[in-house]
């Protein structure tokens, strides 16, 4: 009897720790309404131009064939109440490839280390321009291919802009949150938040730099799988 009761307690505790029991899953799609303006052609310098065989454009509106909008930062406005999350050991990578940042938009947790990598056979500088107190602006040189620098931000900020002053068309954005419930939409506009969300009431926010922001209040029960879809609009000229 004692053994059986202990087994139940351990199983429940294990489930809570691993997040595989009673957790909700939130996913969905962000769709763009309207016709976005044409992207603009990037004017490379001679060295970066050699890395491309075709003209490249800006990435303000990356829209899939069925209207799915990429590079939308989707996140919970507030994480689960009363819970704190240590920064994960996994380090996302902000790469510099063919004179572009990859990815264009990504997310990290506060104090989570992430890597900034130069995969190009040429010199870049990496200039982060956060605005929130506690997040330090930095500007580092990465003159050699393969260089990797680890950085982190201490404060929540959506979004921190990164730029290269050597190549002014290079810029990217990093969202920083104190919880892990965020995602960036893929080329089809789809996203999935981490599948270990405790039951509760949340506000899901979808933020795109040009199409703006939308939010939805949701309530999830244990084990729920909920689709949360957003529609953002191309901004009107007036």
């Amino acid at each position: 009897m004692k053994t059986s009761a202990l087994g139940i307690v351990l199983a429940v505790a294990g489930g809570v720790v691993s997040g595989t029991v009673a957790a909700a899953e939130i996913g969905g799609k962000v769709t763009l309404k309207g016709t976005p303006p044409a992207e603009r052609t990037v004017e490379f310098d001679a060295l970066c131009g050699k890395l491309h065989t075709a003209p490249q454009t800006t990435r303000h509106f990356v829209v899939g064939t069925d209207g799915g909008l990429a590079n939308v930062f989707v996140y919970l406005k507030e994480g689960p109440a009363g819970k704190t999350y240590p920064p994960p050991a996994k380090m996302p990578v902000l790469d510099q490839v063919n004179c572009f940042y990859e990815p264009y938009v990504m997310g990290v947790m506060t104090n989570q280390k992430f890597q900034i990598k130069n995969s190009d056979p040429l010199m870049h500088n990496v200039h982060a321009t956060p605005k929130e107190a506690g997040n330090r602006e930095f500007n580092i040189g990465q003159p050699v291919k393969g260089m990797v620098t680890e950085k982190s931000f201490a404060s929540r900020e959506v979004l921190v802009r990164f730029k290269c002053d050597v190549h002014p068309w290079m810029f990217a954005y990093v969202g920083v949150l104190e919880h892990p419930y965020f995602a960036v939409t893929d080329k089809d506009g789809k996203f999935a938040l981490p599948a270990d969300l405790p039951a509760g009431k949340y506000t899901v926010v979808a933020y795109h730099l040009k199409a703006g922001e939308a939010s939805q209040e949701i309530t999830v029960a244990e084990g729920d799988k909920k689709a949360v879809n957003f529609t953002l609009e191309v901004p009107a000229a007036r």
């Binding site: 303006p37 992207e39 310098d45 010199m123 500088n125 003159p143 002053d165 050597v166 002014p168 040009k210």
Partner: protein, 355 residues
Amino acid sequence: MTRSTPNPWLARFAWVTAAATLGLICVGGLVTSRGAGLAVPDWPNTYGYNMFFFPISQWVGGIFYEHTHRLAAAGVGLLTAVLAVWVWLAEPRAWVRWLAGAAFGGVVLQGVLGGLRVTLIADELGVVHAALAQLFLVWVAALALFLSPGWPSLPPVPAAARSLRPLLLGTTVLVFGQLVLGALMRHQHAGLAIPDFPLAYGRLWPSMDAEAIARYNQLRLETTAVRPITAFQVGLQMAHRLVALGIVAGIVVSARRASRLLGRAHPVTRLARVWVGVVLVQFGLGAVTIWTEKSADLTTAHVGVGAVTLLLGALACVIACRDMLGLTRVWDAHAPPAGVAGSGALAARLTGPSA
């Protein structure tokens, strides 16, 4: 070395230094126009190299502009150092020697400011750096004017025309204020806060509430890494436009009044007439800067011509206020500058208690 007559070569060297400073302002303007101010993250080194030995093969992208600016600044620093020493050794007027010494101090301060702007990543220091550059240009050009053989023979401003002085001075101060406004706008690194001209977002006065600013930012399709615009930046550009109108009016009135009070041949009048032409060019460049979405080259031309606008006003002020400020003392109390026609009599008249 002689201390009794002006040295035309020294004056020429001073003018060359002033011209080099103007060139340096243009190169510095190009750095900001290209968004390359932080393309080299270290200072005084360049990517770890001594800046004078940084390999040319690595002068690429924004590095080219920033590194060239640093080398050009070193050149102007050297010219200023030589000028200061030369003036100190050859110039009998103590106040001119001190002006030259201060110019050297100014160029050192300017270099350190430029470096700190990089290492501290401080945009506000960029504004101070830009403003000090303009003042330094005026300083060196005024020094060159004082060293010029023709300086003592410039005609004075008669008492009846002295009302011209506050007008010239006020307009010149306004020009300097406008340059500071411009530097503030540029060192926000936010690109064009208002994309149209002469209207502003299609209106005489643009909306500046939070919703409007958010919409402006959404509508922009940036090709370079500029910051989002703010209501403050929109306000700055509107102020820049209004001050521009005031400056054009001030300069036109100055030129007309100088012509009426001093005659067309007076150097102040001649300077003021050139001033009118330059400020009209500058006004046009401001419009073109917007219409070309801040083309780097045209924006830099706007910075350069802005510096010339300030310089012309400042030189006109110096000449107009020369006797009032006691700047009429010649090289030697009794020796007229060699080769300056009529300067002997003028020098004798101008020297006196202050000589």
